[in-house]
Symmetry: C2
Subunit: 388 residues, 2 copies
């Protein structure tokens, strides 16, 4: 990756450190290394306020550069920082919500008592990451096209009598063939997903351990959520919602398919979701408050008969959109009580969805970027229910 | 899962707590919930020494039971523990090497000062998990058969002129069709792998950020390791090494394929690896010291001309085997300075591998269980190089 791009990202983090009196960050978690270094390595990126970053590297032994220094264990950090020509930091920030307690304590105790160690690295770097650079938006733009291309082949791989699981395997393959790296990165230790989900019929309403509109029973209790292995049946809808990790950035996109025709209410509910998307598209721009968009969706669906089925049935998701980036769940979240304002460069998934008992899920999900004037769709694909 | 199985596992953890004076564990990380509860939920399993475990549950709302209590946030834990009829613990163990620093501190500060909070939950539960129950061994046995079944179809999906990436996609599909859940669970935050790897020719020798015998350049710097997109060429070997997560337990198995014939030295090197496997099979039994098996492998390969290429070329893996379980990297590790003895019920992958410059990787990997008399192979499949 080009150095000016990396410098811009590092400077965004530095700008957030200054008002807190933090004079250096130690970065070692994979997504934050991708963000600040452009690649995953085993090692530590040391980011001081007023000097170029240093990379203290364990592996691979092929990474070279002006400010790259070999390291064997974190206890060597203070000495190596000084040997690289820098003073020890007065206030050092670690990735406190990503490092394990054990690793955090080990890193913190490497430094002498004069260095105050603080834990807000995760929070600040996530804040920096929530507003994408033009380069990052371009990665999303390319992901969106590849993601849409993969979905365009879904009608070709469907065969009557397939189970949801069999079809999901074919869609995973389509995603991989378009270049999807497969890995589905999530912030936080609890949410585990393999590539994404296909949720059909009643299974879509099965609650999962996670804050999703659609859950699914899954195949094995060790990995709840997703397909349950049942045959896709006439009159059922299903929703495909895969993570589009083509270049590290997770485009998020859902489309609905039907086996034959659906009852009329399904088409009506689908239109309600499209109208909510349209209303939010018309309102969202820099300065829009996140919770206002959530409230707008709730207000609109409340005027229809579908409120009880919006964003899930017995267990509902408490948001209608979420930031995406190197992880599927970044800031901002379009949810109640979120006062944060949209900013140009934010990228988020907007997913008004309705789960109809006896039929299945309908609705839409696209990835959007906040522009100077409004928001722009990055996942271009037909949005009506696709009949198979 | 049956209650006696879960009770046996919980009692294994309790037995490790007693000598340390720990009178309760709070378990909330997914793999440890699978181990002690049989499924992934969002919530906390509270495991006291002398009473049945309590489940404090956020989601899904479908889990019911005698000792299941709803919870909204961790700050409610002390009150809910007392309401469930239990005293607050004197010494409480948390999963200190899996919880983030932020989450650990939040949980620890929920409890009053009279409760001493200690961080060795991860260590103790991993120790309990390192010796499998008969039920867990049976899961591995079934995984091994499905894993072998998937590999048996590899010759059918190979087509001349394919890239390593294209073939990998087809093998991933074979694994999924046999029931693989796809998710590849790794202990620790740094190692990220999508399903496993296919490593061909020179790419197998490319160092990665991880302690692997075979690295690979990968397709994108955000996910190093694995295929690099080159066409598979005549005279090259490649190794398939996928994670066999069929029932939560990761069977580990590698097999070697060749495009046409390989130079004679490749077949010789492959036999060296099979002989190392055979020698270790003959020696390993309960009581065998882990490092002795590593040293045996190094001694044997040292008598051949392949020492420089054993377990990698410019960056070598420092082990020849590793425990497997709910995660791909469990105890024990067959590596230098590991004095731990094998115990009946331990399950490990043994992977003597050689990477030949200009040809590619050869060698073998199987998953083994330690029995009363020796070790038994759980991944039954032909072991010679398979010519395509």
């Amino acid at each position: 990756m080009l150095q000016p791009e990396l410098k811009m990202r590092r400077d965004k983090i530095r700008a957030l450190m200054v008002p807190l009196g933090i004079d250096a960050a130690l970065i070692t978690c994979n997504v934050n290394l991708i963000y600040t270094l452009g690649e995953v390595v085993s090692g530590y990126l040391y980011l001081p306020l007023d000097a170029p970053a240093r990379l203290f590297l364990k592996r691979p032994n092929t990474v070279k550069g002006e400010f790259v220094y070999p390291i064997r264990k974190p206890e060597e950090l203070p000495e190596l920082i000084e040997e690289s020509g820098l003073p020890l930091p007065k206030m050092l920030m670690l990735e406190g919500d990503e490092l394990s307690y054990g690793e955090y304590m080990r890193l913190a105790t490497c430094f002498p008592a004069e260095t105050e160690v603080v834990s807000m690295g995760t929070m600040l770097i996530r804040q920096a990451r929530s507003v994408k650079t033009p380069f990052e938006v371009e990665m999303f733009r390319r992901s969106g096209v590849a993601h849409a291309q993969a979905y365009s082949h879904i009608p070709e791989v469907y065969r009557r009598g397939m189970t949801d699981r069999e079809l999901s395997i074919e869609i995973e393959r389509l995603m991989r063939q378009e270049g999807c790296l497969g890995l589905f990165r999530v912030y936080g230790r609890s949410m585990e997903i393999f590539m994404g989900s296909l949720l059909a019929g009643e299974n879509a309403a099965t609650p999962s351990p996670y804050d999703f509109a659609l859950g699914g029973a899954g195949i094995d209790p060790s990995l709840p959520g997703g397909v349950n292995g049942e045959v896709l049946k006439e009159g059922q809808s299903f929703m495909v919602d895969m993570g589009g990790n083509f270049f590290g950035y997770l485009s998020d996109m859902s489309r609905v398919y039907s086996i034959g025709k659906l009852p009329q209410e399904a088409y009506e509910a689908h239109q309600v979701c499209l109208q909510i998307q349209q209303a939010i598209e018309a309102q969202a721009k820099p300065g829009t408050v996140c919770e206002d968009l959530y409230n707008l969706a709730i207000e609109l669906v409340g005027k229809t008969g579908f409120g009880d089925y919006f964003m899930g049935v017995s267990q509902k998701a408490k948001f209608i959109g979420h930031g995406v980036g190197l992880e599927i769940n970044e800031a901002p979240v379009l949810a109640p009580r979120i006062k944060r304002e949209l900013q140009e460069g934010m990228v988020f998934a907007l997913e008004p969805k309705i789960v109809l008992p006896g039929i299945g899920p309908v609705g839409i999900e696209n990835t959007w970027v906040v522009t100077a004037e409004g928001i722009e769709k990055l996942t271009p694909a037909p949005e009506e229910i696709c009949e198979l």
